[in-house]
Each structure stands twice: as structure tokens, then as C-alpha cells.
């Protein structure tokens, strides 16, 4: 469990981090709760870690009116405990409170979770339900990309060399929400998970990245009950079969979790 040797550089500030990133050869370390296990298992390699976890300029939750801006190094526990988030984006605060365990929530960051792009990541699932955007900075500019265009596959994102996630933007949504996942034991990644927020429905475990369930959303708009709408949860998907679960079981879980989530937010059974 000892990782291959790597160097370590503590970023002085955001500008310093972007300069170092632009020079190449560095892997960003935020909380390390995904990266360090991967380095220890030697499923990931790094020449030099660029530590940004302590940069307070990237740790904030601010209300910009049309959207809330969440700094990349904001930790999961701070998302879960934020009064602002619990009031204006309760589904995101709620999703953060369900990540892994308290120890991991005390270190893990929203930017790190997005960059790692695990197919079952709770914040990506919730963010796709909420139409979140990601701010990517580099030495000579900034771009904003929709989260659903940012996650490309398992462990793959649209981050270009030299870019750093600095912020996540989400429009407020104070509607009823539910975040349900099914996992084999307490600390396993979810096999299938469902996030619902004000009639928007996202599901993980049916594809390499969480997908929206347009059939369910359309059914809800025309007033369908939970069972009728949830029957469409896996429509149009082609779930994988792997050692964790078969495709048919994933479809079953998607429909059951969606139905329970819809009932939880007050949709008639």
C-alpha cells in the first residue's frame, strides 16, 4: 500500500497553482480521498502532487442571485453543514451528507470529486439533476462548461492540460428532493443511485456517467403517478453487466429507487 514515489509542491495561491499547472508534470491534490487511495493501489501515477487543499480562496459558498458559487476545495462536510446551501440548494447539501463516511467528508472536496469522475459519485449525480456548471481556469483564461458535458466517462473529464476546476455553479432549487442509493455495504460505491430535485431526475449506474431520465421527467409534467413515471426510469439506456450487477438488475434498481424517490417528494403513488 505504499505508493510509487512522487514529488510534492504546496501551491502558494491560485495564481501560483495555475502557473505550475501550465508547466505540466503535476497532478492536483485537493482532499486526496480519491487520488491517494488510487496512488496507493498504484492504479494511478503522479510525478508531482500540486497541493491546493489549503487554498481558502477556493473554499467558499456564495449566493450570486441567479446561481450559487461553490469553490472547488469546499469540503463535503462544509456543503452538508452550510446554512446557505441547506436553504437554497437542499438537494446538494443532502447529497453531500450522504457521501461515504464522516472522515472522508472531512477531507474530500467537491472539485476533487468532479475531477475524479467516479460513475457513482454522489455530487456528480446531484449536479446533473441540478444542471450544474463547472468553472475551469487556466493561466490565460476561464471557461464555464455544463457538468453533463464535463463528465465524459468513468474517470474521464473535459479538463484540458493546464486547467483547474475552481468553482461549481448551480441555480437555486428549493423544491422537494430525494437522493437514494443502493449499495452492497456501507462504504461501497452505489450500484444504482437516483437524485430527484423539483421534477428533474438523474440516475447513476445505468451508464458510465449519470444520466437524466427524460421519460420520467415528461411523465411527471403530465401528472403521472410515481409508479407510472418510474417505470420509464431505465428507458433508452443500455446498462452494463459486470461483477457488481447485471443489466436487468440495474434496470430494476433504477425503477424501484425512482419510484421511492418520487413518493418521498410527494408524487402520488
Amino acid at each position: 500500500m505504499i505508493p510509487a514515489a512522487f514529488g510534492y509542491r504546496r501551491a502558494g495561491d491560485l495564481a501560483d497553482a495555475l502557473i505550475r499547472l501550465g508547466q505540466g508534470g503535476v497532478t492536483v491534490l485537493a482532499g486526496g480521498q480519491s487520488l491517494l487511495p488510487a496512488l496507493k493501489a498504484r492504479t494511478a501515477r503522479a510525478e508531482t502532487l500540486l497541493d491546493i487543499g489549503h487554498l481558502t480562496e477556493l473554499s467558499h459558498i456564495t449566493d450570486n442571485g441567479s446561481h450559487l458559487a461553490i469553490g472547488a476545495t469546499t469540503r463535503h462536510c462544509d456543503l452538508a453543514a452550510s446554512d446557505l446551501l441547506r436553504e437554497r440548494l437542499p438537494s446538494l447539501a443532502g447529497a453531500a451528507a450522504l457521501i461515504a463516511d464522516p472522515q472522508i467528508r472531512h477531507m474530500g472536496t467537491i472539485g476533487g470529486s468532479l475531477a475524479h469522475a467516479d460513475p457513482a459519485a454522489d455530487l456528480i449525480l446531484a449536479g446533473i439533476a441540478l444542471d450544474a456548471s463547472v468553472v475551469l481556469a487556466r493561466r490565460d483564461g476561464v471557461r464555464v462548461i455544463a457538468l453533463r458535458d464535463f463528465v465524459l466517462g468513468a474517470g474521464r473529464t473535459a479538463i484540458e492540460p493546464g486547467e483547474l476546476i475552481t468553482e461549481v455553479r448551480v441555480a437555486p432549487d428549493t423544491g422537494p428532493w430525494s437522493h437514494r442509493k443502493f449499495h452492497r455495504d456501507a462504504l461501497e460505491w452505489a450500484v444504482v443511485a437516483v437524485a430527484v430535485s423539483s421534477g428533474r431526475v438523474a440516475i447513476s449506474g445505468l451508464a458510465p456517467v449519470p444520466v437524466r431520465a427524460p421519460g420520467v421527467e415528461a411523465a411527471l409534467k403530465r401528472g403521472a403517478g410515481a409508479a407510472e413515471a418510474a417505470a420509464l426510469a431505465d428507458a433508452g439506456t443500455d446498462p452494463p453487466t459486470d461483477r457488481t450487477a447485471g443489466a436487468d438488475y440495474r434496470r430494476h434498481l433504477a425503477r424501484v429507487l425512482t419510484r421511492r424517490a418520487l413518493i418521498e417528494i410527494g408524487v402520488a403513488p
Partner: protein, 172 residues
């Protein structure tokens, strides 16, 4: 701190159990490795070494973290509390005393991590706790003696009967 991106040791300064510590650590050295191998604080156990079992739990700025999944360099400028730092001389911390009184220990391997996870919970929880609160807060700590019942009773006893003294400068 090193100015280059090389693999040379990183100079760090931190507080461990209230005492200032300066160390030069290899970048890949975990906080658990630093505590055990460099500082001799072997109360921090390494069980799974894969972020699952919680035996290596310590407090970092007052919050429980898994020290096998933090590199020592990340602790620069921060405050660490290990099981060795909880008692006040011969006076056990209330959570330690409750573990003793409720026989919340069998083989003892998970105990330091359990105690520190409980201290972190009690430091962040504003009011009385339910059994479910405690179970969820200890989700990241495995006891393979299956001794959870007494552990939960011990934590509940502290949570719902007495004030817990602060043990660090954490901000929760």
C-alpha cells in the same frame, strides 16, 4: 516547504497533541506513517490501509480523518490529535472513560479510531444524539469483534449526559 517539484523531503511544521513538531517527510509518507514511524505514536493503528476500516482515525483541526489517506505534508500548519493526546494526565477523556465503563472494547484494535471518531462527532453535534446518529457517525469505523452495541452505548452515554471538553482548535 520545498520550492522544487522534486521528490525531496518536505519540511513541515504542525501541532501534534498540543506540542509543536517540525519534521522532514517524504512526500508519499502518510500522516499515519509520520505519526507511527517518525513520532512513535503507535496508538494510531493501521488496519486496512485503504480508507475503509477507520482504525487510523485521528483528529485534524478537530475533525476525524483517516490518517492512512492523508499525506503528512497535508498536515503542515495544522493541528493533529491522536489517542495519546486525549487524556489529561491520568484523567481519561470522557469518551475514553465511557468506553471503559460500558466495556466498549474487545480486542482493542479499532478502539483508538472509534474513540476519535466519537470525539469528532461530539465536537460537531450541537444537541442530544440518537442511536441512529451515532451509528451513522461511526459508519467509517469497523469493529471485527462485532462489538458495536457497547461502543454505541458508550458514545450515547457521553452525548446525552455530559459536556465534552474541547481537545483541539478545530472550527466545528
Amino acid at each position: 516547504m520545498t520550492e522544487s517539484g522534486s521528490r525531496e523531503d518536505v519540511e513541515i511544521k504542525l501541532s501534534v497533541n498540543g506540542r509543536p513538531v517540525a519534521a522532514a517527510v517524504e512526500p508519499r509518507t502518510t500522516l499515519a506513517g509520520l505519526l507511527r514511524d517518525e513520532l512513535g505514536l503507535t496508538g494510531t493503528n493501521i488496519g486496512c490501509d485503504t480508507t475503509s476500516c477507520g482504525a487510523c482515525t485521528v483528529l485534524l483541526d478537530g475533525r476525524a480523518v483517516k490518517s492512512c489517506t492523508v499525506v503528512g505534508a497535508q498536515a503542515h500548519g495544522r493541528s493533529v490529535v491522536t489517542i495519546e493526546g486525549l487524556a489529561d494526565g491520568d484523567r481519561l477523556h470522557p469518551v475514553q472513560r465511557a468506553f471503559h465503563e460500558h466495556h466498549a472494547v474487545q480486542c482493542g484494535f479499532c478502539t483508538p479510531g472509534m474513540v476519535l471518531a466519537a470525539v469528532s462527532l461530539l465536537g460537531s453535534a450541537p444537541g442530544p444524539l440518537t442511536e441512529q446518529d451515532v451509528r451513522l457517525a461511526l459508519k467509517g469505523n469497523l469493529c471485527r469483534c462485532t462489538g458495536y452495541h457497547n461502543i454505541i452505548q458508550a458514545v450515547l452515554a457521553v452525548a446525552n449526559t455530559q459536556a465534552v471538553p474541547a481537545v483541539s482548535n478545530g472550527d466545528e
